[in-house]
Amino acid sequence: MTKLDHYKLICGLEVHAELKTNSKMFCGCKNDPFGATKPNSYTCPVCLGLPGGLPVANKKAIEWTIKLGLALGCKINLFSKFDRKNYFYPDLPKGYQISQYDLPFCYDGLVETSEGLVRITRIHLEEDTGKLLHKEVAGKKVSLIDFNRSSVPLIEIVTEPDITSPTQAKEYGKKIRQILRYLEIADADMEQGGMRLEANISLAKTDANDLPTYKVEVKNINSFRFMENAIKYEMERHAALLEKGKTPAQETRGWNPTTGKTFPQRTKETAEDYRYFPDPDLPPIVFSKAQIETIRQSIPELADEKARRWQKEFDIEPRYATMLTANRHKAEWLETVFASAQATDTTPNQLAKAIINKKIEIKKGEAANKVIARYQKLTATDNVTEEELQTAIAKVVQANTEAVTRFKNGETKLLGFFMGQVMRELGKKVDAPALRQKLLQEIA
């Protein structure tokens, strides 16, 4: 059925993530919208948008945005500013969102994926909005507003339309989340909305050089799998339309995880006019090159780099290294384990494999020698005399004559069963290759 062979995906992503600073972006209120026990408990005149409330920029949030930008290879605007993005929505108490327009903190970055490079257009810092709750109160349907999230620092990372497949989109998203977590600037919890995804999707003829004339935006996707599926769905939908000579409508769509389909939200014939202008309440922000360097120094080794180093230093297979560097703190601890292992008979790669295959249980933060000891115990063999072994094998063969026949008739996978039986009979751990050989001699 697929007409997709004639087309290629042109896709750019916008990722929003809330920074986990102690206080909000423009006021001193606690930044903990998911931890708040009551709506509107972390609010003040500023984040409620009361007249006379004035924003004061959170320095930490700005530094963290630059830190992320540097980690993604971005250039930094030494002169930057905040702008007002004017639009009406009930969860936006001032009638405008403080964001950044033409001078974002970071621009021109690069992210590596297994399917190719993705260019970062810009990273800017803004404030999150409040949250609408649609409830029934005293039998009446009402909309309530919770401002705990209002003015929480929010970064937006925008890519060029470099993404060429749904799987690459997913990989990119996961990578961004991993970096945010490595830098410890965001929890990036997708389910709670701490990280939100938007995909700009269009299809072009496989041999076309120009970008398509239309673009469909799928908004507010809160899982990587949903994003992958939403892009797949859109590709099929666009291809079907294009094959009929139609152009998909320029619009914003949502993703319904229940139906597995996207649905139209609003058409976007022309660009919206947010009437951006520099926020007169906030002076421009100026950084020196030295300040940027200081921020650069504070960036820890990221997962990719760490995995590459592990391959070199510990001779750990790339796929294991990638998996085990996924979480920064776990990786930092594992590194101490691998380093200790180098002094023993156990290689770091053996350990890495055992950890991934869940052969040994590990408790993060445990002393390295304990982990190594557990692994060695797992793989250690007991001394068994030839006689003991012969007796045990004989017993097992005798008790399982039917299985022996089946084995002889070609059910080779039964060998594992016999090995297990022999070890149980012995009550000891035997060197597996030696046992296998012995067993084959007996029953084959």
Partner: protein, 461 residues
Amino acid sequence: MSQAKLTLKQALAGLEAGEFSLSEIYKDVNKAVQTDNSQLNIYLTLNEKAEVEAANLGNLPLKGLPIAVKDNFLTKNLRTTAASTVLDEFVPPFESTATAKLKAAGGVVLGKTNLDAWAHGSSTETSQYGRTLNPRHPDYLPGGSSGGSAAAVAADFCIAALGTETAGSIRQPAAWCGVVGLKPTYGRVSRYGIVPMASSTDSPGTLTKTVEDSAILLNYLAGHDKKDSTTGPQPVPDFTQALNTDISGLKIGYLYHDLEGLEIVNPVIEEQLKVLEKLGVKVEKASAMDPKHAISVYTIVQRGEVSSNLARFDGIRYGNDRSFFGDEAKRRIMLGTYTLSKGYADQYYNTAQKVRTLFLQDFERLFATYDVLISATSPNYAKKIGATEGTAMFGELEDMLLEPSSISGLPGINIPCYHDQKTNLFLGMNIVGPMWEEARVIAVAAAFEKNTPWNSWRNAS
């Protein structure tokens, strides 16, 4: 003499010396308010607890004296409307930094004064609670937008008052009411807790009976506020130190001497500049950028910021919805929305900001030669009531001489420089200094005030 007629300085000294009591002052001020407020429409809301608050203050520098506050300063638990019925029932849950500082120094908010709705205007005629009348002559307007505060001072409804200026809103009503109006440097006094008009030029300041009073009051209002990132880190001098400085040797640039439409006021200014010359000041005619460009810049920038600042009154909060906006607010919202629109922002807003930079450079050039700049405050005497009808640009034309310094953030003061015996109306002189040089402005103004007969209180009969 009624104790309501005391200047701030006199009141403080008299209380200190035990010449009279605070309750005598309150009695006389309250009497003036009770007699005339219903006619003059100066206070929109009176603080019923003012005298009790004053009595319980303890020994603070401002000694519990009654201060009038423009109704766009948020006062906790005291209704604040910005003279618009959109905020008819708005009782703020927090206090503006300026009034908090005033209170901490022992000032008491006696009441909230009328203004042009949202401070949009120069007459108080756009107030949705009715216009204020000029206490000097009730057939005339008090000017605006701080018309209520200027009138409160002129009518002895308070000992001193607070106002805000975005482009002329302190100095122009001060000129029309024959009082002293000090607009500090942008960023000298915190804007936190003041209903915003044009955020990039809003400057809270004082309306007082004498220059001395403005220096005393500014001492308590000025300073960096961590809640307002546009306030400056500059140290705050003791402004009263400037009151008795020798101004001889200063060089003054006389601006707008050749501008059309100033035929009544400029001869007066020229005559009065001779007073300063006698004090050893050198006065020269100086030419500055045509203020008509400042009107354009201000109109575009201010309307843009207004359209954004008023967006929060969306009908979801504050009780009354957008249909409660008056015509002037609607005009400004529409014009501002237009000038910020895509395709027009470059043509209007961005160009205006570039021209604003030219004004800054022009003032830099002037201050390289002159210590202060002097011009008329307003082209003429106070206008008659109803004068704004059918004149959408009324304020801009009245404030033309003040807008260049306002958009440049400079400090300026209005002092009465002529009194017309027949109408009992005043003309005002505007003295402007470089950024953060309020002290220099105060020094010149104080010297002028001491050596001329135009101050109603200093020269009270």
